[in-house]
């Protein structure tokens, strides 16, 4: 198991889980609406499947937010 943090909150996940799997695990309803930062570096969307997280990693899930005017 790996201890990581997602948006500042501690999470324990299986070792070598991919970012794509982590997105599912966190019940992100629309994966196309999230941008991911791993230890302060943005991860390309194309690399979500191939990038794995390890113990101590800090992730930020940033969501598109569109409202404002209408």
């Amino acid at each position: 198991m790996s201890k990581i943090s997602v948006n500042g909150k501690a999470q324990e996940v299986e070792s070598s889980i991919s970012i794509a799997e982590l997105i599912k695990l966190n019940n992100v309803a629309q994966p196309s609406m999230v941008s991911i930062q791993l230890n302060g570096q943005f991860v390309n969307r194309d690399d979500f499947d191939s990038t794995t997280v390890s113990d101590g990693d800090e992730l930020d899930f940033l969501y598109f937010m569109g409202g404002g005017s209408l």
């Binding site: 196309s32 569109g66 404002g68 209408l70």
Partner: protein
């Protein structure tokens, strides 16, 4: 600029602030700020910038006031329904502060007109409801080397960041617009009215900080909050080398009008 007695009185609470003073207030009065969208975010932004005495406020919005806007768009009043939003906003700004020159653009910001309009201003504030224009503002400000404030709200959440040339831009965080069908429409998602005020006033404060040079701007940081928990979070970000507009191999070199799923409550009604 020599302030009149009346202006000294009007702006006294700014002038009293050690970091602002007469000098800072003069910078505000000389400032030119463009607000894109006279809606949920644009309303509080315009009200506070008008009260602060920002010299020129440009407002661009092609819409008219709808009854469903009044739950959060506090610059528009009940008798303003069906009035162009830019006219309604201009009337309130003039009432709040006759020092402010208001320039209205009753149209959409497009790839064609964006640079011409933005070039006349010192700072651009994004108060829009859709991603195509958010990306357009970002790209146009990159090209024109103008600072801007991004703001977005949805349901109980808000997010904002400030860009100045050299800092992480909106695309550094959000590479390209989400697929149109992935975007929840406002009629599906909704928004708590007061969220617009919470976020819009943060954006207005950033504008005043920029104009006066006071404090640290929200650059290389994304501020997010959720009103259900009232938790605020700052995510530190940095310039992204893979950014399509300011990375080392830019793929976006001109302005584009992206297709959008229009957040249109009327079309939603018709679908029902």
């Amino acid at each position: 600029m020599d302030f009149t007695e009346e202006q000294i009185q009007r702006y006294s609470r700014h002038i009293l602030l050690q970091d602002v003073g007469v000098e800072g207030q003069e910078k505000i009065n000389n400032g030119k700020v463009l607000i894109v969208g006279a809606g949920g975010l644009g309303a509080p932004i315009a009200l506070y910038l008008a009260a602060a005495g920002v010299g020129t406020i440009g407002i661009i919005d092609g819409d008219v006031v709808d009854l469903s806007n009044l739950q959060r768009q506090v610059i528009h009043f009940t008798p303003d329904v069906n009035k162009p939003k830019v006219i309604s906003a201009k009337e309130k700004i003039n009432l709040i502060n006759p020092d402010v020159k208001v320039v209205t653009y009753q149209k959409l910001l497009t790839a064609e007109n964006a640079l011409d309009i933005i070039n006349d201003y010192d700072f651009v504030v994004d108060g829009t409801d859709n991603f195509p224009v958010k990306f357009l503002i970002n790209d146009a400000c990159m090209i024109a080397k103008k600072p801007f404030s991004h703001g977005g709200i949805l349901r109980f959440d808000g997010q904002t960041l400030t860009y100045v040339p050299g800092s992480a831009c909106y695309r550094c965080l959000f590479h390209s617009p989400p697929p149109p069908n992935a975007v929840p429409t406002c009629s599906q998602a909704g928004v708590l009215g007061a969220i617009a005020g919470m976020l819009g006033t943060i954006q207005a404060a950033e504008v005043l900080k920029y104009l006066t040079g006071v404090g640290d701007l929200l650059t290389n940081r994304l501020l997010t909050f959720n009103a259900k928990t009232m938790e605020f979070r700052t995510v530190h970000t940095k310039h992204n080398d893979n950014c399509p507009v300011c990375g080392s191999h830019p793929t976006v070199t001109g302005l584009v009008d992206y297709e959008q799923a229009v957040c249109d409550i009327e079309s939603h009604r018709k679908q029902k």
